[in-house]
Amino acid sequence: MDQLVSLRKTPLYDFHRRLGARMTAFAGYELPLHYERGLVAEHLHTRAHAGLFDVSHMGQAIVAGPGAARLLETLAPADLLGLRAQRTRYTQLLNDEGGILDDLMVTRLPGRDERFFLVVNAATKAQDFALIEQKLPELSLHAQERRALLALQGPASAAALAPLSPEVETLGFMDWRAFDYEGAGVYVTRSGYTGEDGFEISLPADIAERFAERLLENPEVAPIGLGARDSLRLEAGVCLYGHDIDSSTDPVEAELTFTIGRRRRVEGGFPGFDRIARALREGPTRRRVGLLPQDKAPVREGAPLLAADGAVVGRVTSGGFSPSLQRPIAMGYVAANHVESRKPLFTDLRGRRVELAIAALPFVPHRYVRQNKETA
């Protein structure tokens, strides 16, 4: 394949090649699409055992300084003042219209200083970090460019990670801990992108391969490519930035209201509060919904969603085939009044009219492990 731009490699590039990965370009990086067993086998392995993903392309940064929580709240709608140390929250950076510039994970680090650990999307990391530096010059931002990021996902994850760090078994969903591995600092959050129990593991690039090899010694753990990462997250009903959410969608219509802090829904103080408050008050004009094509063929991103009379009432933003359910699944935005009317939706698939049913998300139930009563 011709590459017009040179692709960046993650610290695990040689590891992927050695494991027979078929590589693909994603967000400027050369990453494994799948390994020798293929997407479906990798997907099902993750649901049944544990899958190891290289997500080192994602952006990691530490943002620090007096008032960091209050200042970050001016860019994102999560309750960060109320976020306890060693806890992680999912939130979004918003533009002045309430559109989503990126979605990210924010962890309050332990210690006397106000410090937050951020994990952002690969394609948006440069602009995210520039935005934070520009809008919040009082804070220091240190991009963690020499750290790799692994995700270990699936029901066998905790047992597989415990030999490297016994403490991980005590963590609940969205709990964060630092532990020492061969003298290096490893950060673990019990979270992920598959709907399964699991961990995201930030670690220095120079130990990433050894750490990954060590995890793979457990026969329950298999390497998993980006292909299955996408099909797993679609089954879990989770948004992919640039597809299901972007700068033209706000968190309310994206059905992410649960991530807006309760205090913040009243107080505001984040970009686009006017639009978001109105959407909260009056309901959004469109909603992100799950879609079940009533056909054997997948309905893909970009497909228009039509009412019976042919009027366009929405659009598919992610669509594919669910290996767990053995059927096509999709997500998209549909006009709120059409969702409420419960009338059928259709699309044109290569000249055939295919009906889609609106379905509750997630398609496959989440299996997060909650050790404490607090909700994320």
Partner: protein, 124 residues
Amino acid sequence: MSTTYFTKDHEYLRIDGDVAVVGVTDYAQAQLGDVVFVELPPSGKEIAKGGTLATVESVKAASEVYAPVSGEVIEVNAALEEAPGTVNEDAQGAGWFVKLRLASEDELAGLLDAAAYEAFLKTL
């Protein structure tokens, strides 16, 4: 005795008289990944060379398969409806797509034989 021809788009045509059994090669199925759906044309349809013969859906993406020669569809592999994974398991056998009655045997002249296709694969 049947002859098999190939294309640079990784299709094969197994010729028996004026009928070609058409499918995608083992190389193609490996590139496509897990096939989850194959949309085939109706029997009786006349397809011109270069027209859409089938659409192959993997978990991730849809890929069009274009007719390597012109002809009439005289049979489609109905077994693929229930078992699309047959394309991965036996692309050049039970995973065939359609049988075409050739419009013109002259069109076969531009196709690759097995040796030429093998050589082509080595260049990829």
